[in-house]
Symmetry: C6
Subunit: 247 residues, 6 copies
């Protein structure tokens, strides 16, 4: 496997789960988690360590949260994101749907945003990637995009087109996705088949205790540890415990 | 994290769960609970202690219950809400949908209220916030609002617009939401992803006993205790027990 | 809490669960139970003891069962309802949908009854309440009413209008509702949020044994025992056991 | 309770469960069971013992099975139904939807039968009841009737009209119904609320063993044993074991 | 029960479960199983032993699989079906929907087959039954037929017409049906109520082990063992173990 | 069974489960698994060992993944697929829906692909099979094909036509399918009944541990071990452990 190389994730314990290597370079990984599971933290930690330790600039494409808010929330981990932005090591691209500015103090006018689709997302991605010559890329959350395609067949084709374009652009990508089900009887989503890797961040309630579990469901091109492992959100970011059982 | 500060909740035990601090100032928190879980009690307790102990006036925007009824029900906790209202420390805004007054003794005429939407809610919020220069704000229940948007994409956009406007207004906000599912296999709602914090008030039936559990599912900008904890509705209001297991 | 007072229920053991007091006067309580759970028995017992022991006349608005049948079935508990009716202490109002009388021996003609709605129900309630100057009121079953509103938003508004009119009329009200689900994974109904109190009468099958459980899910304005408690249907009516565990 | 009397069921053990008495005379009872649960056997046993031991003639209204087949299948219990028919103690009314006779050997022509409704069922019931001056009546299966009303409100009204007409005719009635769900999480059907009694014949699979359980969910006007009890289908018909636990 | 007689099934252990007798002659039995449960094997074994040991010719009506394939697959059990066909003891009728032959090498053209219905199935059955003067008959799988009737009422009527015609033709019939659910919470199908007998072939996963279970849910006219029993698919065909528990 | 022979799978342990033989030659087997279950690895391993050890050329028809990606991902197992392609022992046919090339740098244009159907798939299969005189054939994933047929009856007919054409072409075929459900209560799919064999690759979560299980649900013409067995994805490909319990 001479031609293949790997991107260290910067999340303590995570590379050990990924066969001691990291994410295969150029792959697109789905990171799926519930509310409060640390999806955004993991994504920023991936970009931050890439930019500061491996000289790999990163792009964060946000479809929901304001980049200002993200930077503020991430400050508590001691990550100086503004400094990275100024050094062209990190770019935030905000493509959350535009709102019509309310005229004459009439307050906010809600507009239909259903025409947001693939072309716009790809433009944003390309723009961000060029801006910093990015090697790592985040789309957060993918949900806003996939909800636009209620038809299964159209959604699969849109996802495939997205995957192919991401490959052409050449970054290593994390697509952040929101889990709907909370219990054991989850349906697999099409996205899990289309992505080259799938990481699930569950919070399992077991005998009245919440346990955070990190589960690599899939990682093409790599023999991974497919056991769920506990993880924590510490003052320094996410840490996974690759040698511990969940319970 | 010099720039961030926190709002003490006034609910005994709750700030300990929130990293010993409280709710990040200016954030919008979803409080989701079943019937009889004490959602309104928690909300009033948050406003009452804000107004009386921290000099932070509050607004209670009600979409369902008559403010008179709320005040009456809350009297049993010894909270003198009328006094606060008169002192401009608390305002109730009632935007439950208007009814056409029945003419000529014909009794009540039910009218379609489906056109109630975002603009009206925001007007009410702004009005209340200005009236008392509010620092804390409640919307109870959010359900009446979200039911207006059966389309997922429209609902996400409406919720986002609401969140952004709330941020601009600048209070710390609790949005009260009604749980539908009663068991373990709940679906995560979009609102849980859009809010900056999520608190769940469950009543779990375990071996024929009801156990009230307080679960901080999510709290952006704060390393919280994500374990479910027992809580009680006492004569003095809600108390959470941050060091006890649920069972 | 000088201004609030309480209505003793007349069901042995039930007032103990309701903080030793009873139902807050003027409130509207949802009583939800399965087939054979004794919903009608509980309702009549509430009216009968009100009329005979507290001089509080009552009205029973029936949307389904014939008042004759109710009186006959309740005879076995030794409650002389006819005597109360004659003494203007009790009124039955039958608003089960009218049928067109079959002409010429053609048998019964089924007619569409879908236009039965709020106005008609409120007229019946007012008429009954005036007739006996009622202090207590039953609507049984609410299901026939709520089924008319398949749209969630319309149903919430209709229920709210009903609740408000009931408050204006001024009785203490039990709305009898039929449970659909039989297992643990029940969905909360909107009615549970709109009512001021919710009492669930479940029959739980546990290891092949049926256990009747009385569960006060919610009771605004009152610190209640929220534990499920066993109850029985005895020769003398319903009795709840407020100090016993369910199993 | 001087005016009330009871109909002995003739099923060994069943009257003991029904407070030692039987079914309240004139009531309409829903008997709901899965395939092979012995619903038809129970119904015939009720008619047979009525006719032979209590001089109460019976009518069996079949909406599905050919009376010839029923008689043949019941022969194994030693019940001579033909003799009862000849003695005008029993009548079978077959109102399974008519078929157009195939002309010219072309085989069977399937026709739309969706217009079968209440009027036709009631005519058949009246005809049968007059023919033998019936005191006991069976409708088997009710399912064919209720499926005609996919709209909930229409179905409730049709069922109520049926119940009222049955009351006017004056027999004691068993309506045989087919269970859909096989597990614990069954939905209560509207019919269970409308009938004056409900008996469930379940087959529960417990640790790989099938256990037949007889459960009186509801019986108006009677304080019944609401515990599930085992029953068997013996050479002599159904026997219930009123003093044994299910397992 | 002088007039009734029974058809020995030829499946070792099965007649013991059927009260030591077999299937009541002339009845129509539903055999419902999952993929790989041996439904076809059971059906052929029934026909083969009928033809070779009891001089009862049989017909196999296939709606899906090619008779050639069936014969080939069954060869491994040592059953020489071709010999039986030549001796007019067995007939295969293939009524899987016809395809339009592709002209000019254009490959297969898929055509709409939705007009396949009852008349065609009955013609095939009659033809086969006359050809060998059949006493035993299989329809495999019934699913293709029932899927044509998405409307419940139409499907019930079509099934009833099929049952009646089968009775008129006079064979003892097995209708092979495909199970959809894999778990414990199965819905009973209408076919289970309409057939005179129901046999379920489940594969239950219990603690990581697969257990094949043979369950006679229903068998009119016969007091059967209604316990699930283990079965195996051996080199000699299916064998049921009527005296063993499932686990 | 002189005429039947078997195709060794090349997956260590798998032939032992298949009665020590392999897959019946010419059959079409459904391989159904979740994301990351190794479906593609199993398929390539089947083709690779066929080509290198049994002189049986193979065709891989891909409806989703780029053949380049597959070859790259499989390199880690030491399988030199390019060499086989050059030696005409292996062909990849890519029929993932074509995209319109974006003109003038406008980026990717998503087009509706709903008209992709049976004829196109069969052409691709025939072309590939002729190219290398294939004996083994893969379609991966079947899901893209079956999603085109939301109507059950049409889907069954399309699948049957596919199965018949595959039989005519004469290879031994694996159809790769994507599992939707993750829990125990899975619905059987029509494809499981139509295929001649079904292999399920589950990942079961048991007490917080993930266990990969290989389950031959069905294999016509072969007495197989129907117990779930553990399997692993090793550096050398998939290995099944035919003598070990799952747990």
């Amino acid at each position: 496997m001479s031609g293949v190389n790997y991107v260290p994730t910067g999340i303590p314990g995570m590379d050990e789960i990924l066969a001691g290597r990291g994410i295969p370079r150029g792959h697109t990984i789905l990171v799926s988690g519930g509310p409060g599971s640390g999806k955004t933290t993991l994504a920023i930690q991936f970009l931050y360590t890439g930019a500061t330790q491996h000289n790999e600039p990163g792009v964060y494409v946000t479809l929901d949260e304001d980049p200002m808010d993200i930077k503020e929330n991430m400050a508590k981990f001691g990550w100086d994101l503004k400094n990275l932005e100024e050094g062209k090591k990190l770019a935030f691209i905000n493509i959350s749907p535009v709102r019509v500015t309310p005229s004459e103090g009439a307050g906010l006018i809600q507009i239909g945003m259903k025409e947001f689709r693939l072309v716009k997302l790809l433009e944003a991605i390309r723009q961000g990637a060029e801006e910093v010559k990015a090697k790592r890329l985040i789309v957060d959350p993918l949900t806003i995009f996939t909800l636009q395609y209620p038809d299964d067949v159209e959604r699969i084709h849109a996802m495939r087109d997205l995957m192919r374009e991401l490959k052409r652009i050449g970054c290593t990508n994390l697509l952040i996705s929101e889990l709907r089900g909370t219990g054991l009887e989850r349906e697999h989503q099409f996205e899990e088949y289309l992505a080259q890797g799938v990481i699930l961040l569950h919070t399992v309630l077991k005998n009245g205790r919440a346990v955070r579990t990190f589960h690599v469901e899939k990682m093409r091109g790599l023999g991974v540890d497919n056991q769920p492992r506990p993880y924590k959100i510490l003052d320094t970011g996410i840490e996974v415990f690759p040698n511990e059982p969940v319970y």
